[in-house]
């Protein structure tokens, strides 16, 4: 028998059920760690630390979660805030403050399927963090533009622009 996210959340809230919370963490650990890792330029250790902080915050704030939004949207929002706080703490650039990367990336001469994925990872790093975050949420995690805007805490139009601009850059750089 599998529980929905709503079932698990109810169990956590009503019974303080750590097993139910563990199931939520198991379900979402991969997308959250992957999302933060992409924001952190592939730093897996940092991503794991921030993801852990994210889930601890989720545990503490689960009572404030409103079921009219998707749990994943709320969760990515907390993950994004964790990243922002870390970036600001280290005087790194915040999401909206990042400079534009060089427009041209050395295009693969022979963009074979085997190396295309590697090139994608490199190209993703050259996107601004805001574009990368929007692309990861919308194109890899299935959030709508509206949901991504909620998670990232920015206007819908900004998310649409970032997705569009990011995709154009990736297409140009990867020649797909």
């Amino acid at each position: 028998m599998s529980f929905t996210d709503a079932d698990l959340i109810a169990r956590v809230l009503l019974r303080v059920d750590q097993n139910a919370f563990g199931e939520l963490v198991r379900r979402y650990q991969s997308p959250v760690r992957s999302f933060i890792s992409k924001l952190a330029d592939g730093d897996a250790h940092l991503a794991d630390d921030l993801a852990q902080e994210t889930f601890v915050k989720v545990w503490n704030k689960l009572g404030t979660f409103r079921s009219d939004a998707k749990f994943s949207t709320w969760l990515f929002g907390i993950a994004c805030n964790e990243w922002r706080m870390h970036a600001r703490g280290r005087r790194e650039l915040a999401l909206e403050e990042l400079a534009e990367p060089p427009d041209e990336l050395a295009q693969p001469e022979a963009a074979t399927a085997s190396n295309l994925r590697l090139d994608l990872a490199a190209a993703m790093k050259l996107l601004t963090t805001a574009e990368r975050a929007a692309i990861v949420l919308c194109c890899q995690n299935g959030l709508s533009h509206d949901e991504a805007a909620q998670a990232l805490g920015c206007p819908l139009g900004t998310v649409k622009t970032n997705v569009l601009r990011g995709r154009e850059k990736l297409k140009r750089w990867l020649a797909v």
């Binding site: 599998s2 929905t4 996210d5 009503l14 019974r15 303080v16 750590q18 919370f21 563990g22 963490v25 198991r26 379900r27 979402y28 650990q29 991969s30 997308p31 760690r33 992957s34 794991d48 993801a51 852990q52 889930f55 601890v56 545990w59 503490n60 009572g63 998707k70 749990f71 994943s72 295309l116 994925r117 994608l120 990872a121 692309i135 990861v136 194109c139 890899q140 995690n141 299935g142 959030l143 709508s144 995709r167 990736l170 297409k171 990867l174 797909v176």
Partner: protein, 116 residues
């Protein structure tokens, strides 16, 4: 994975295929266990505690309402002023009720703050 994240629609765009293909599932590798270990202790809503607090508030209010007229009587005798027109029992009752209400509000706030 049985979470509520939307399934991405199938697309013909090679970039989308590439993006989806690049998003590999990360194995848990003890991550969930570390998170559960790091969780702070959290108490369930203690309805018994709430009931005891509320009962205590009302008992306190009842005792105050019972005793305050006597206290005000003593004060009335001790202070030689023309206060005989003042409705001491009424004031005592109102004071007791206000004290009970303040205690109840305080208890509720304390309870909510502690639960969070």
């Amino acid at each position: 994975m049985k979470n509520e994240m939307s399934h991405l629609p199938k697309t013909q765009d090679p970039l989308d295929e590439l993006l989806l293909g690049a998003d590999e599932y990360l194995p848990d590798s003890g991550f969930t266990a570390r998170v559960l270990t790091a969780l702070p202790a959290k108490r369930a809503h203690s309805w018994r505690r709430f009931a005891v607090l509320t009962l205590a508030v009302f008992i306190g209010a009842a005792l105050a309402a019972w005793e305050l007229p006597a206290i005000f009587g003593i004060l009335h005798q001790a202070i030689p002023l023309h206060w005989s027109a003042i409705q001491w029992p009424l004031i005592a009752t109102i004071t007791a009720l206000l004290a009970a209400l303040a205690s109840l509000v305080w208890a509720m706030f304390a309870l909510v703050a502690e639960e969070r």
